[in-house]
């Protein structure tokens, strides 16, 4: 028993994100974002805000999939949960900060329910279940259209930003405030015992169990944490768009998120940032190509195709598939 524990812990002794203190990243990130919001033109600032919102969910997902080995296609639906919660809250109380917290709490609760089921499922079964969750969103908004207003969705009541700043700057600050806090929290979480447990579960469930780690609890916790991140991201998207509708959270959103974390490099928070950047940059590039070609059909679909090709190529080119895309675990003493 103790022998196994030793083996597992030494193998996983050094967490993966140790380069800088999370606090430094937090401060540097905040300075960089503030500086950018005062130099970028409004549209770029808006895009920056979107990257921040995406970063919340990709960071949570990369922890779930990269560090804990669970695949979720339901995070688009969890984002919708956060977004709708915020919209309903704002339209009633118009207290943004509390609304965002409520959105996170509600999504966390929903995530806990899915996570409890997910912890008992593996591979394609988990993928299929979460896929079903992603597909069911429009069905819910249509069935309870008194609350969610069906396909039209809801608009989000927001107070105007402080007079000293533009709407875009304000959006970027809000989104990146959330994103940086998310990354900070996840960095702290994953370098501690929880991160070690997650990696142990991912690498070998039996060994982890023998080492006294509760596999189910670790998996549910990972799912709940990533759900909370998705809830925050959804709420931020509602803030940016000032509206929510099922069309904003299609199945392809969940697939995009998956692609983002696979390409960014699984289990790495910098990978989550790369993924979030791609999620904003690629559709923008596709949009420009579409406009240049004068074809509306090209616009959205070009990005879709490109994401798909990249996903397939990366998966086939990486020897060992997903596992080899993770950053390797290094032992103390190794470089």
């Amino acid at each position: 028993m103790t022998v196994v524990r030793d083996r597992v812990t030494t193998r996983l002794a050094v967490p993966t994100m140790r380069k800088q203190s999370p606090l430094i990243i937090l401060v540097l990130g905040a300075i960089a974002v503030v500086a950018l919001t005062y130099t970028l033109p409004p549209f770029r600032t808006y895009q920056l805000a979107t990257v921040g919102a995406y970063l919340c969910v990709t960071a949570g997902l990369t922890v779930l999939t990269g560090l804990n080995g669970q695949l979720s296609l339901g995070h688009g639906a969890l984002m919708a949960t956060g977004a709708y919660t915020l919209a309903l809250w704002q339209n009633k109380f118009n207290l943004l900060v509390v609304g965002i917290i409520v959105a996170i709490l509600v999504t966390t609760a929903v995530g806990a329910v899915i996570g409890l089921a997910a912890a008992r499922l593996r591979g394609p079964y988990l993928a299929g279940l979460t896929l079903a969750v992603a597909v069911v969103v429009p069905s819910i908004t249509s069935t309870f259209d008194g609350t969610f207003n069906s396909d039209q969705g809801l608009s989000v009541v927001l107070n105007p930003p402080p007079e000293s700043m533009t709407v875009e700057q304000w959006q970027a600050w809000v989104c990146w405030g959330g994103a940086l806090l998310t990354v900070f929290t996840l960095a702290l979480l994953t370098r501690g015992r929880f991160g070690r447990d997650m990696r142990a579960v991912r690498d070998d469930e039996t060994a982890a169990r023998l080492a006294g780690i509760s596999v189910a609890r670790t998996q549910v916790t990972a799912f709940v944490v990533s759900a909370a991140c998705a809830g925050l991201a959804g709420a931020l998207f509602a803030v940016i768009a000032q509206s929510v509708s099922p069309g904003a959270f299609p199945l392809t959103l969940s697939l995009f998120l998956l692609m983002a974390i696979v390409i960014g490099g699984l289990g790495r928070l910098t990978g989550a940032l790369i993924g979030a950047l791609l999620l904003v940059a690629l559709p923008a590039v596709a949009h420009e190509i579409g406009e240049a070609a004068g074809s509306q059909r090209l616009e959205g679909n070009l990005a879709l195709t490109f994401f798909g090709v990249v996903l397939v190529v990366v998966m086939l080119a990486a020897p060992g598939g997903l596992a080899s895309l993770r950053i390797p675990l290094k032992k103390k003493g190794q470089r």
Binding site: G128, L255, L311, G321
Partner: protein, 293 residues
């Protein structure tokens, strides 16, 4: 009571389609331990081709045949070009690659055909004719039963009565041993994917006229329903998937009929959750063990 009977027959008709689609999923799962998440998108792609041909020639049946042939080709192509090279060390790899294919196929279809819904016409009337004063079945429903029944019979004969079927089963169950016995395992896998994709195409052609029509994402919900059907049947069991399809079809029909169509996807999700958590090996299996595959 009349309504109940009508919904029952309607559910069986839907269920037959889900059964065919679930059967296609099970064929590939048994052979490669991959759940082909791209099957819905592949079926839509072949349906687009079929309706293009039908529009150009004026013959639905020509389009129908083209859909099946395109399914064979697409399935073989996907196996040869992509799936053969998927690393099997983690079951997630196949899932992720299949999802990448979904994006590619939906993107390409959108670029060629656009993202608005196009009509998908049915070759027979969908108006139910009356039997003893009760409207039960349409000609189209009969066509669906006949087509799915034919597929089930043909596949059963193929797998149980022919040397190729025996080879395919052996290759799926024990690839290394089969190779030692002279079975060209790679070829059998390609054939399996081709057949499964053709069955998926058939299911797509049968279901699209009963839904909103042609759209790159038209099969997303159908896929979930069929996946649920396959899980209900145990994923490893062709017979189970057919029964699972009928069960899901009936459930959806009753729910849509009595509670409203928008509730149906939630019912599918609920069924999937219940089965996965209580009988992960399917309703018809005797043992019940956690799915670790």
């Amino acid at each position: 009571m009349d309504r109940f009977l009508f919904l029952t027959f309607d559910g069986l008709s839907r269920g037959a389609v889900y059964a065919a689609f679930a059967l296609a999923l099970v064929l590939i799962w048994r052979a490669t331990r991959i759940v082909n998440f791209a099957q819905g998108a592949m079926a839509v792609a072949t349906a687009y081709v079929a309706y293009s041909v039908a529009d150009a020639t004026g013959s639905y049946w020509l389009g129908f045949i083209v859909a099946l042939l395109a399914g064979l080709l697409l399935g073989a192509g996907v196996e040869r070009v992509v799936m053969r090279f998927v690393d099997h060390s983690s079951p997630l790899n196949g899932v992720v690659v299949a999802l990448g294919l979904v994006l590619i196929i939906q993107g390409v279809l959108g670029m060629i055909y656009g993202n608005e819904f196009r009509p998908a016409t049915a070759p027979f009337s969908r108006d139910a004719f009356e039997i003893g004063g009760v409207a039960l079945l349409s000609r189209y429903d009969l066509f669906v039963f006949a087509a799915v029944g034919a597929v089930v019979v043909l596949l059963t004969l193929l797998f149980t009565r022919t040397p190729t079927g025996l080879r395919m089963r052996a290759a799926a169950f024990a690839p290394d041993v089969s190779r030692l016995l002279g079975v060209p395992v790679g070829g059998m896998l390609t054939l399996g994917w081709a057949l499964a994709a053709a069955v998926g195409s058939l299911a797509g052609m049968l279901v699209l006229p009963t839904e909103l029509g042609l759209n790159p994402t038209a099969m997303d919900i159908v896929f979930i329903s069929a996946f649920t059907a396959a899980v209900v049947g145990g994923l490893d069991s062709p017979i189970g998937s057919v029964l699972g399809g009928l069960i899901v079809g009936l459930l959806l029909s009753y729910i849509s009929g009595y509670l409203g169509a928008t509730v149906a996807p939630m019912a599918v999700l609920a069924l999937l959750v219940v089965v996965l958590l209580s009988r992960p090996d399917g309703l018809f299996s005797r043992s019940s063990k956690a799915r670790t595959a």
